[in-house]
Amino acid sequence: MEKAKTLYALLSGHQNEILRQWQKEQLAPGVLRSDLISPDELKQQMEDFLRYLVEAVKKDETEDMSSLEAWKEVRSFLTEISKTQAKKGFLPSETSMFIFSLKKPIFQLLQSYDTEDLEKFASDLWKVNTLLDQLGLLTMESYLKSKEEIIRRQQEEMLELSTPVVKIWEQVVAVPLIGTLDSARTQMVMENLLQEIVRVSATIAIIDITGVPTVDTLVAQHLFKTVSAARLMGAECVISGIRPQIAQTMVHLGVSFQDITTKATLAEAIKYAFSRVGYRISKGESTK
C-alpha cells in the first residue's frame, strides 16, 4: 500500500491507467458519437487534456502559482473543445460528460491508496470532485456561449433573408415586408432597397406591408424616410398592402400618406408601376 502523497504524484504516476479507463468510458458504444467525431480524434483530445490537467495540478500544488495562472491552459483547451462540440452538434450532456466521466477513474485510483490516511483521502476526494465540477461547469458555459453565437448569427442571416428586394421588371423593384419592423430591421430594409434601386437603376420601388401586423408612428416614420431617400435616388415609391384596419388606425393616429402613392394590393401596385415605366399588362391566349 502506498503512503499518501501529493495529488500530482498520484495522478502523474498513474496517468496512463487513468487515460485508459477514461477512454474506455468515453469510447463505449452508445456513448461515443461516432457520427460527430472519430475515435482517434477523441482519444487524442483526451490524452492532451489529461496532460494539461496533470501539469496544472503540479503547478497548483508544488510551484505555488496563482490558481488562475496554473489552470489557464486547461481552461482554454476545454473551452475550445466545448465550443467545437457545440458547433458539431453534440448534446450539452455529452459535452459535460467529457469531464464528468473522468471522475470514476480518478476516484477509483484515490480509493486504492492508504486507507489509513482517511483525512488525506477525504480531502483529495473533495478537491478532485470540486475541480471536476468546476471544469464541467466551464464546458457548459463555453458550450452555451458558442450556441448563443450561432443563434445570433442565424438571426442576422434571417434579418437579411427576410427582407429580400426583388427586381420585378426593368426599372421596377419590390420589397415585401413581413413581421415586426423594429429599428434594426427597418434600417436593413431601407439600405437593401436603396442599394437595389441604384444597382438596377430602378425608377419605381414597391414597398408591400401586407405582412406587417402593426404600423405605429415609428414604422410610419421609417417608411417616410425610405420614400424620401428613394426619391433622392430618382425612384418613386409605392406602398401597397395597407389593410383596412391599419388604414383606419393610421387616420386616428394622424399619420397621412398624402403625397405617397398607395395601392390596396401588391398586384395593383405592380400594374401601376408597369404603366409608369411604359408597359401594359394585357390578357392574351391562355397556354394552359
Binding site: T180, D182, S183, P213, T214, V215, D216, T217, L218, A220, Q221, P244, Q245, I246, Q248, T249, H252, L253, G254, V255
Partner: protein, 136 residues
C-alpha cells in the same frame, strides 16, 4: 358605475423586445375579451406608442394590463408608468407634431384618439403615468 378588475398582469418595458412583447400580450387579451379586429389593431397600436414612450422618453418602466368590467361593458385598462424625467408641458406634448426627440410627435395625441379613455399624469423629475381604457 363601479369598475371591477377581473384579471391583472404587469410587464417590464425596458427594451425594444419588451415593446414587441407588450403588443403581443395586448393583442392576445384584446382577442380574448372579444374586441373586433379593427379595435384590436387600434388598441395594439396605442400600446405600441405608449410603451415606446415609456422606454424611449421615460427611460423604461412597466405596463400594467387589466381586464375590467363596469356592469354593462367589458374592456381593457392599460397603465404605463415610468420614473423618468417627466413632461414639463403635457398640453404641448399632446399636440400633434410636437416631439423633443425627432419623432413624428403623434404618439400621445394619436394614442388618445385610438381609445375611449385617456389620462396622463406627469411630474418633472418624478416620472409619467398614462392610463388608457378601451371598451369592447
Amino acid at each position: 358605475m363601479e369598475l371591477k378588475v377581473l384579471k391583472r398582469s404587469t410587464f417590464p418595458i425596458r427594451s425594444e423586445e419588451d415593446i414587441v412583447k407588450a403588443r403581443q400580450i395586448v393583442r392576445n387579451w384584446a382577442n380574448e375579451v372579444g374586441f373586433k379586429l379593427v379595435d384590436q389593431t387600434k388598441l395594439v397600436t396605442a400600446t405600441s406608442e405608449l410603451a415606446r414612450n415609456t422606454f424611449v422618453h421615460g427611460g423604461g418602466g412597466e405596463m400594467m394590463l387589466e381586464q375590467v368590467e363596469d356592469g354593462t361593458r367589458s374592456g381593457l385598462r392599460i397603465t404605463f408608468q415610468d420614473h423618468g424625467p417627466g413632461i414639463p408641458d403635457v398640453t404641448r406634448a399632446l399636440q400633434d407634431g410636437y416631439s423633443t426627440a425627432g419623432g413624428l410627435g403623434l404618439g400621445l395625441g394619436g394614442a388618445k384618439r385610438l381609445v375611449h379613455e385617456f389620462s396622463i399624469q406627469s411630474e418633472v423629475g418624478k416620472g409619467t403615468v398614462v392610463i388608457i381604457v378601451k371598451w369592447v
